[in-house]
Amino acid sequence: MHAAVVAGLASAALSQQAALPEAREGSPTALASGHDLVERHCVECHTGENAEGQFDVEALWAAAPDDERARRARLALQRVRSRTMPPPDADVQPDAAARRGLFEAFAALVPSAPGERIARARRLSRDAYVRTVRDLCGVDFDAREALPEDVRVHGFDDLGDGPGVAAADFEAWFDAATAIAERMCTADPKVSVVDPAADFDAALRAFVRRAFRRVPTTEELASRTALRERVRTTGADEAAARAAVVRSVLASPAFLLRTEAGEVEAPNRLTPHELAVRLSYLLTGTMPDAELAAAADGGALREVAALQDHARRLLAKDGGRTFGARFVAQWLRAVDVLAANADFRRYPEIWNHGLRPAFLEEIVQLGAEIARENGSVLWLVDCDHAWLDARLASHYGLPKPSGDGFVRVSLPDRRRGGVLGSGAMAMVSSFPLRTSPVLRGRYVLDQLLLANVPPPPPGAGSLPPDDVPVDGASLRAQLERHRRDAKCASCHASMDPLGFALESYDVLGRWRDEVHGQPVDRTGELPDGTTLDGPVALKDELLRREDEFVHAFASQLATFAIGRAMVPADEPELLRIADACLAGEHRFLPLLDALLASPLFSLRDPWLPLRESGGPR
């Protein structure tokens, strides 16, 4: 191993070791091992033959590390995360640190298959393709009409667990490569690779270096040189030969897929070029710019501090806008608002075609601001300002802002601000004819707290599509009846009160005090007895659970950055990242810095020694 590499590796290895459970220094529970916490909070009910729910936690530690143990540990994780365990009426309630300790203790019992922890090759999404082609080729390409639809996995459009590559995909990419090469040849000024006057070898090397986002191999260059000569021998001119070369680059898997092979001598460690690609697509949705590429070439990016510096530079350069549009808007499902539907007879305002894009833009702007200004990640939950244009302000019943387009508007009260008071949240959690407390509660749990509510069991039934009362029974009364069914109650008990609190927003996100002449019933009781009344109370509840929200942010950011779903083995590292944010006034940069410093970001498999590749090569 090169000596220069060692320093960087050492810090990664250290943090990796420290990330193992039961060794979190500085935490109030550092002395209490995971098992002690389980003793304190779980065994009173869950032990022996008469354990509650036939769930004997102590036996978990004694059991063989098999699938059954992993299944039961996962179940425990889910219960701790969703706060259904320890139960609200337990005598000893764990504090936030103890809950994290419990979480780590159970996470340590879930082994992950090696493949689970390694991100797979990621296709360029349409969005990434357009941005990358713009930077690489100087061509504005409209991919919506030319490339297949993206598949969103875990909420994001370019993760590695996606659909793979189908014949139709490659055909579309091949056509796109042809079209882009043609446009490059007629552009003025030309990128040098298609300029017959430019030196071919130098131009080729530079172009392939940028397109493949790494140093090209000798063979990759030689096959292009041969291609050019072959085309020339058919009598074609230099321009045609160069166009063919460009097509072969843009249709190559090395361009279309983001792959990670790791360092030659330490295959588990990402190369500086691979780190640059992760960072660049995370923050700007496109290939590394010249400065970042140079830092990768020189190896400087092996230093965490260099990654962090470039992150700041990229956010400032882009104003955080791409980050808001790609990460925040996808995570919070604001992108779905474009396809969300409302009944146009009941809600004629939906004919205003600018409304849905404006709902999306509101969230993009807020996300951009948080990244650009190092704002609080909690602004997504509760914020004293919002980004609105005249249309949205009037839609929300707020004074018209001065200035054109979207501007930062101070809010008079807490009914707006953050995603909960946004039209995007309201629409993606509604049916065409009514709001849905169930979908809204689920939105809060799934998006903001990552609680992963299971889908309803078969035959669970459903509520009417319209909220006009039928036979005098309000929607709420029908939902209460549904909840009396035991198999439904456990999920709805935690979901519905959160959703009822959001009933003050109609299908299009406007404030309402009445539904069909009746006052809006926005009260609900959480499983722990807390009563929620309206969205402001819900915001307070979420702020009280800030550690969960920050953890959700960290988990989703890591998923988006790395390209795979987080697994239980990642939890200790995610908790560390979340802690950095909590200790840093909930600001964005401490969280991002902690992610960039984490083995999650710099290793292919964060839980293997650096030299191992995690699979035969």
Binding site: G115, I118, R120, A121, E145, P148, E149, D150, R152, V153, H154, D161, P163, G164, V165, A166, A167, A168, D169, F170, E171, A172, F174, D175, T178, E220, S223, L227, V231, T234, A240, A243, A244, R247, S248, A251, S252, P253, L257, T259, A261, G262, N341, D343, F344, F431, P432, L433, P455, P457, P458, S462, P465, D466, V470, R604, G614, G615, P616, R617
Partner: protein, 432 residues
């Protein structure tokens, strides 16, 4: 006949890209009479979320035919060209919960693996088996159409990827469907332009070399996707080879008649365009195999263009025996059948040899559940139109014994299509 937005004749008019000549014009006239039979085509159109049984199931008449039920009324005019099947099912789908365990194995007859992750496991679907045997004879081995993108999530323990794929080329490989009409059109009629591209093969060679080299450098976890990439490059080369075999007598395609770009906002338009493309692909013999999943399973799409159906399809399908849900549910079923009827109109409007394109085809309409309320996997809604080139007696109501494998129908269709198999899925006997 209801006119498609771009008719076959319109396409053959005007100046545009060259297109390989359809089967009949190029070959038919020069063949001995005995060999002049048009090729058999087959298509499967699938409606999600099941159908209300008492709205779907037709009565029999004295001649062994069927009398239109509420849902089948749009096919009344063609009841001599349509056979309705009763009591077909996929026995391997009885156990799995929810919609996905029903739709993914509809054309495979297998039980799918219960997983929300990426370790999908199903069987090879009948259309892909046919494509693997006979697909090399056409420009495209097969066509997979749909209207909805897939958002992979886990639902009742199954990946929603299962809910959006009928066609499976291998147990772990859904083929993926196309939802943008324009892209389908471009793909169908692209072969000719590829053929006239002198540098294409050299470019593809360089790309294939990249894929092979990259594959050697990458870890096991990325081998699958690189293998798919290589297969896709190869598939394009095969398509071009097929186009080159049919160089002679190219006709003109007016590219101005192509459907508009993007996904149509209006669902009826989207469905109509897909049926246009299906008919066009068959008429020009660009492919002989097509599947069309009209919406992904659990589709909650509203049907505001059908009176009284403003709510979501999936919600209506769980009708809980309430009239206010059953009524829109059956109307939505009938709407789907009515759209299917327009496909038959399109096919019947194309003359081929002594009959029509519909006579040469086998066109199935089916849903992976009967009563959506209970996710009932028995006695599925299934009907077959077209005579498969004359082999199939039509206009019948076929009552099989209870829980007869649906694969019996697929087996018969495969044989009629010219695939020599003696069993398929859980079926060893055919239905015709």
């Amino acid at each position: 006949m209801r006119l498609p937005r771009f008719g076959r004749r319109a396409l053959l008019r005007g100046a545009g890209a060259a297109m390989a000549l359809p089967f009949l014009e190029s070959v038919h006239a020069r063949l001995p009479k005995a060999l002049r039979a048009p090729p058999v085509r087959m298509a499967v159109v699938v409606m999600p979320n099941g159908a209300l049984p008492w709205a779907w199931r037709p009565e029999s008449d004295e001649q062994g035919g069927w009398k239109p039920s509420y849902a089948l009324e749009p096919l009344a005019a063609r009841n001599q060209e349509v056979t309705v099947f009763r009591h077909l099912c996929n026995r391997n789908s009885f156990e799995g919960d929810g919609h996905y365990a029903k739709v993914a194995p509809l054309l495979t007859g297998c039980a799918i693996r219960r997983t929300g992750g990426r370790d999908l496991w199903n069987g090879v679907s009948m259309d892909q088996l046919a494509a693997q045997h006979r697909g090399g004879e056409t420009l495209l081995p097969s066509l997979e159409l749909g209207c909805d993108p897939i958002y992979p999530v886990e639902d009742m323990g199954y990946s929603s990827v299962y809910g959006g794929n009928l066609a499976w080329s291998a147990p772990d490989r859904p083929v993926g469907k196309q939802i943008v009409p324009r892209l389908v059109f471009d793909r169908l009629f692209r072969s000719a332009t590829l053929r006239t591209d002198p540098t294409r093969q050299s470019v593809l060679d360089a790309v294939a070399d990249d894929a092979a080299r990259l594959r050697a450098r990458l870890p096991r976890s990325d081998q699958d996707v690189l293998a798919q990439f290589t297969d896709s490059v190869r598939a394009l080369e095969l398509r071009i080879a097929a186009a080159e075999r049919r160089m002679e007598g190219a006709v003109q395609v007016d590219s101005a008649k192509a459907p508009p770009p993007g996904v149509p906002q209006d669902y009826p338009t989207h469905v109509a365009l897909m049926f246009d493309l299906m008919a066009l692909a068959f008429a020009t013999d660009a492919t002989r195999i097509a599947t069309f999943l009209m919406a992904n399973e659990v589709s909650g799409r509203p049907f505001p263009f059908v009176e009284g159906c403003d709510g979501g399809f999936h919600e209506y399908s769980h009708h809980e025996n309430k009239d206010e849900k059953k009524e829109p549910y059956r109307r939505i079923t009938r709407w789907h059948v009515a759209q299917f009827a327009t496909l038959l109109d399109r096919l019947a409007g194309v003359r081929e040899g002594d009959g029509t394109l519909l006579d040469a085809s086998m066109v199935v309409f089916a849903s992976p559940m009967s009563d959506g309320n209970a996710h009932d996997p028995h006695d599925l809604p299934v009907l077959l139109a077209g005579r498969g080139g004359g082999a199939i007696p039509q206009g019948r109501l076929v009552r099989s014994p209870r829980d007869t494998p649906l694969c019996s129908l697929w087996l018969s269709m495969l044989r009629t299509f010219g695939v020599a198999v003696d069993r398929f899925g859980d079926a060893e006997q055919g239905l015709f």
